[in-house]
Amino acid sequence: MSKAPQLSMNGLSVRFSGRTSDALRDLTTCIEPGSTTAITGPSGCGKTTLLRTLAGFIPSMIHAEVSGEVRVDERSFAALDLSALSQRVGLVQQDPDAQVCTLRVRSEVGFGPENLCLPYHEVTTRISESMAAVGIEHLAGRDTTTLSGGEKQRLAVASILAMGPEVILLDEPTAHLDPAGAMDLFVLLRKLQERSGCSLVIAEHRLTPIESLNPSLWVLDRGALVSRDEDRTHADARTLAQPRSADRLVAAHPTQDIIRVQRLGFGYRERLFDGLTLDIEPGTILGVIGPNGTGKTTFLRLLAGLEKPEAGEIHKPPTSRTGMVFQHPHQQLFERTVRRDLEIEGPLEAQALKDLLASARLDGLGDAPPYLLSLGEQRRLTVLSTLRQHPQLLLLDEPFIGQDRGNVSWIVSQILEAKNRGAAVCLVTHDIPMASALCDRILYLEDEPLIGTPEGVFQKLRLRGQRAFTPEYWEQP
């Protein structure tokens, strides 16, 4: 690989059609060759827009008014075709599953080099090298639809590597990875950079794992670059969103309200649970953590009654109502307006609706179509509509993915409110510090599941050498 280019922006502003404010405002900065840059900031601050502009997708594929200039070395982006630019700058998008174009791992990695019309032997060399670089050689013949989240993320990186770019842009690359997978990805990126000298630009809410790459830090707010490198300790979007220890108090509840999981057995192709037994008490929060593919979401589905146990039983109080917040908010938004979506559970008085929307910072959006809301707004709406059912069992599947500090704090407050109301809460998360601070009990799913208090489970994980699943790993730079 040749020396990485300098990417520079001069007065870059982007405004999407139909919007009154700029998504990016007057950015003038540059990315030095071979450097690592971490971009952070609240949801909607322009991280993804900046990466898509640097990759050339804006304005060539996503229509927007762009003013100012982006240059790669001394050449303006305006003079480069998107496909030609792809050989210099590659973007790994946020959802690894959504960017897979083909049905086999090997053909996915070879897709880019084949489009470049390279000789076949060079295509095969690039495929082998890229797969080896991310450690997925053993998956070469696999169907892409059968890969786990972590495997898909590695595949997405390998397919960009095969293009031989000098600058790699990564949009929240750890969002769908378990803590060990996230740790592995950054180790991999560091090795890659040492070997090839490429520049890395990473948009992330959580900065702690990126610290090992010693990045320059850019903080964006409402499209503007508000700080560089200073104030690092407070830039991590999650660190301030911890609950108070007083929220750990657990009230006594009648034993008939306890949800009992007894000798649970279930699996798809492979056995996920074999004799799992635990109680979930009302007014408590059970955190479910563990590597990708160990059955965390399946556990929630079993509790919700969406799957039937193959062995054992799940006892729930007969009148128990279950509410579930799905991983992707758009999957549970059905109505034409926010108001109608909130009224599925029953009509609301005008003032009650106004208060409800204000409580979730959705003021004035009652008549807006849910699909046009931002991801953070959609997430708040799904939490709100789920809590409108007053569930006695509240299930949340990765509710913090892609959420900034403000949204995380709001979701935490809603979880604590449900708990204090006496609901049993079951929270699946990869956010280990959050699970440690928020949950009364932790279920760690792997071959040998662990169940107990957060302190007890994390102590056992330390002894097992699973450092990435302990809170201190994510709290210390």
Partner: protein, 257 residues
């Protein structure tokens, strides 16, 4: 229908033949049942497709389970023909007279339907989509169209999964989807399909960026892997296909159809 067969079976039977050979076999079977009204030909063709499915690693239960909706619809076609065609000799009477003409037409129609659907299903499940796309590109079809086929297949499991998740989300919110009146049916469709459609559109955008960001369309051609050699299975199938074609042409020539 299940989209794929057991991956452990991918080295058996039709999995080993070239996409062009499989396509020739598929077309040969389709033309055989369309060109003949003989029940023997219809049953023979469907029997051959079933035998090929077992040879390719399908279990009898898996095969008939995959085709259960096709079998049901074939039965419906058979009954519709039996009850509507009144030519030929009367055999028995239910509330309409069942005739030999109706039975023959129904059986022919059902066997044609079964053979065409099952052979197409067998072809899709035993043919590697990438290899098929490469074959189509070699035959001169622009690669953009070849990849449209792959993308269409890529979206099948996605839509199936999204549809299931959306229905489960509705179930958990206590939403009962009723289809008792046209208005309710429209609402039910809106509730189910709008979220799935929105997800699909978002994904189409992401995939389009992913493809363009990897130089899709940069050149009029793209690198293709070297041509694969024919296997014994390929040779045997081509001999059968050409032989069948020759016999058909000869039979027409001498006036025996």
């Amino acid at each position: 229908m299940n989209a794929r067969m057991d991956p452990s079976m991918t080295e058996r039977g039709l999995h080993r033949v070239l996409p062009g050979t499989g396509l020739a076999l598929l077309l040969s079977l389709v033309f055989a049942v369309l060109g003949s009204r003989s029940l023997v030909v219809g049953m023979g063709a469907f029997g051959l497709v079933t035998a090929l499915a077992f040879w390719s690693g399908q279990s009898p239960w898996g095969w008939f389970r995959s085709l259960r909706y096709v079998l049901f619809f074939a039965l419906f076609l058979f009954l519709a023909q039996v009850l509507s065609i009144q030519s030929g000799r009367a055999v028995f009477r239910i509330w309409r007279t069942v005739t030999t003409g109706g039975l023959h037409a129904g059986a022919t129609m059902a066997l044609r339907f079964l053979t065409i659907l099952s052979s197409s299903f067998l072809y899709v499940t035993t043919t590697d989509p990438d290899r098929l796309a490469n074959t189509l590109i070699r035959w001169g079809i622009p690669y953009r169209y070849g990849y449209t086929f792959i993308l269409a297949l890529r979206f099948v499991p996605f839509f199936r999964k999204e549809l299931r998740t959306v229905r489960e989300a509705q179930q958990l919110r206590g939403m009962r989807v009723s289809v008792r009146s046209p208005r309710r049916l429209l609402r039910a469709l809106e509730f189910v399909f709008v979220p799935v459609l929105v997800s699909g559109l978002v994904r189409v955008d992401t995939i389009a960026m992913s493809m363009k960001g990897r130089a899709f369309g940069l050149h009029p051609r793209r690198t293709l892997p070297p041509k694969q050699a024919m296997t014994r299975e390929d040779v045997a199938i081509w001999c059968c296909v050409i032989g069948r074609l020759a016999i058909t042409l000869l039979a027409r020539r001498i006036g025996w159809t």
